[in-house]
Symmetry: C2
Subunit: 192 residues, 2 copies
């Protein structure tokens, strides 16, 4: 148990002793859940988020806008964006970002499958909701370039590419905003 993130030796012992004090039934149920976790949780064939079926509930929903694809690094980002209630399109989970320092190249994440989706699905806009880090920017830049491989639609339109806004957080004051963010927020000011 002490190989789980954030759980060291002491916490692992405390958790184990707690489990030991419980009913056998409870522990069996927990073990069963862990087994089912690996057996029953799948990744969506289209967007690669977790799913209990071959295609996830977002990709198979009729009320979601299939013309808009939000590209994220991880499954947690899908959950965070769903929580905002501001997005009605579908997703594409890369499973990481390009990071030469960590040995992660474009071929190690789901970029090829994204480009394929763009060729076969009627997508009009791709929104990058990637980390606002050098790795996230590199990944966005690389995908942007790759998307130029996608031929224009029959009606002559090409795919619109955007990224989520960067700037000062809602509730924050300029004074307490880091200078890189504040500097970019000035450069990317929005007309009122």
């Amino acid at each position: 148990m002490n190989t789980l993130p954030g759980i060291g030796r002491k916490t692992a012992i405390r958790l184990t002793l707690n489990l030991l004090r419980r009913d056998a039934k409870e522990v069996e149920a927990f073990a069963g859940s862990l087994l089912r976790l690996k057996q029953e949780v799948h990744y969506c064939r289209l967007c690669h988020t977790i799913s209990d079926s071959e295609v996830c509930s977002i990709c198979s929903s009729h009320s979601r806008d299939k013309h808009t694809v939000c590209v994220v690094a991880d499954i947690q980002d899908v959950l965070a964006i769903e929580n905002t209630g501001q997005y009605n399109g579908v997703y594409h989970v890369l499973g990481g970002v390009i990071s030469p320092m960590d040995g992660i190249g474009p071929g190690d994440i789901e970029i090829g499958s994204l480009v394929e989706r763009m060729k076969t699905e009627p997508v009009r806009e791709v929104i990058f909701a990637l980390p606002a880090t050098m790795e996230g920017d590199t990944t966005g830049f690389y995908i942007h370039k790759r998307l130029q491989e996608v031929p224009p639609r029959d009606d002559g339109t090409t795919i619109k590419v955007s990224q989520i806004a960067r700037g000062i957080a809602v509730g924050n004051e300029p004074e307490y905003t880091d200078e890189v963010t504040l500097g970019r927020a000035i450069l990317n000011r929005q007309p009122l």
Copy 2:
């Protein structure tokens, strides 16, 4: 001394005892600095930031762009924006934001003088760098409305009004961004 912000009774005593142990000369120099602080520091007649002369070094600089005015709540915001190195216009310090809860109305902060400046100076753009709070938004909205009093220039142009971008902070990941900020960042996404 314990009426200073962040300094309670205990800290005040510790600071006082520290001063007592120092040379008389050092303490006299400190007292002198405090006196000069009130005598020599002025507020700029134009932008209301602190200044050692009637007009501050930013307002009187020939290399600053007088066509662009950045409206901020406090002097600290001027310092924060100067630190970014991304802004070459001038400022207007309101000295607070409209806050009915705290009894601060439009007449209590430097809005009237801003509108006057717009009438007499060749300003083309006003940028709000106000807190991303309800009070900051109210203040921006009110000023925006007041700026419509300003007659168009002789060349027919009106003043452009913008606000600094809001969104996810540089270095942050969508997953760890609060949902209000993330939601707005999606709505205000920027084309690449």
